[in-house]
Assembly symmetry: C2
Homo-oligomer: 106 residues x 2
Amino acid sequence: MRQKQSLAHTSLLVLSLLSRQDMYGYQMIATLEQRLDPAFSMKEGTLYPILRELENAGAVSCYEQEVSGRTRKYYHLTRKGRRQLAEEQEQWERYEHAINAVLHMA
Amino acid sequence: MRQKQSLAHTSLLVLSLLSRQDMYGYQMIATLEQRLDPAFSMKEGTLYPILRELENAGAVSCYEQEVSGRTRKYYHLTRKGRRQLAEEQEQWERYEHAINAVLHMA
DNA sequence: TTATATACATAGAGATACAAGGTATGAGAG
DNA sequence: CTCTCATACCTTGTATCTCTATGTATATAA
């Protein structure tokens, strides 16, 4: 049985979250948990590698902050990241329309 | 560099096409080529394995037809396939809304 | 003191889609 | 007549993607 992939367009989601405020990993997961359908929650094994890639690509920068004993690693969207967000958002919209065009074919 | 996956929800597209008329593989690809953004065109290496799985799952049945020397393998959506289409369509909508909910967060 | 929540991270496995290749026929160009 | 292109099928291997499972460590609540 073919198993549906629960998530795609993951970096789009991450970039989108960071476009509003700096966030740390655990917080992103919690936020998505609320916003997203629980069926599509993002897992740690998915998020952290993406954050690393975004950082290597220069789309995000990061800094650490100690809060009551625990170290949080905050991520900040760079100008380059903003461009990437715009591109991925546009691509998502094209994707969305393409699928819907087929679904609602005459 | 992370490479965007160009397609997902592939079986949804196939089932959707077949809900309107019986079709053969090459025709589906050509039809999607027109309807879909060319960037998301479905490749043969993607389609044929899916058709086989759908057949194994009993979602489609198939029959051959000879047309001017060339053999076409037509696929027909079964009742079970219709149910699967309904499910996948619903899931697509939930996915779509979930992504958009994050993108358009206040 | 034990469990739960917070917070990071990685390795391995399974799923997914594509590129690249193969077979074969028909039609049109030269 | 031959070569190429379009039609029509299909498979193998590779790259990529996401999750599961696991690991570390601290704070807080029971």
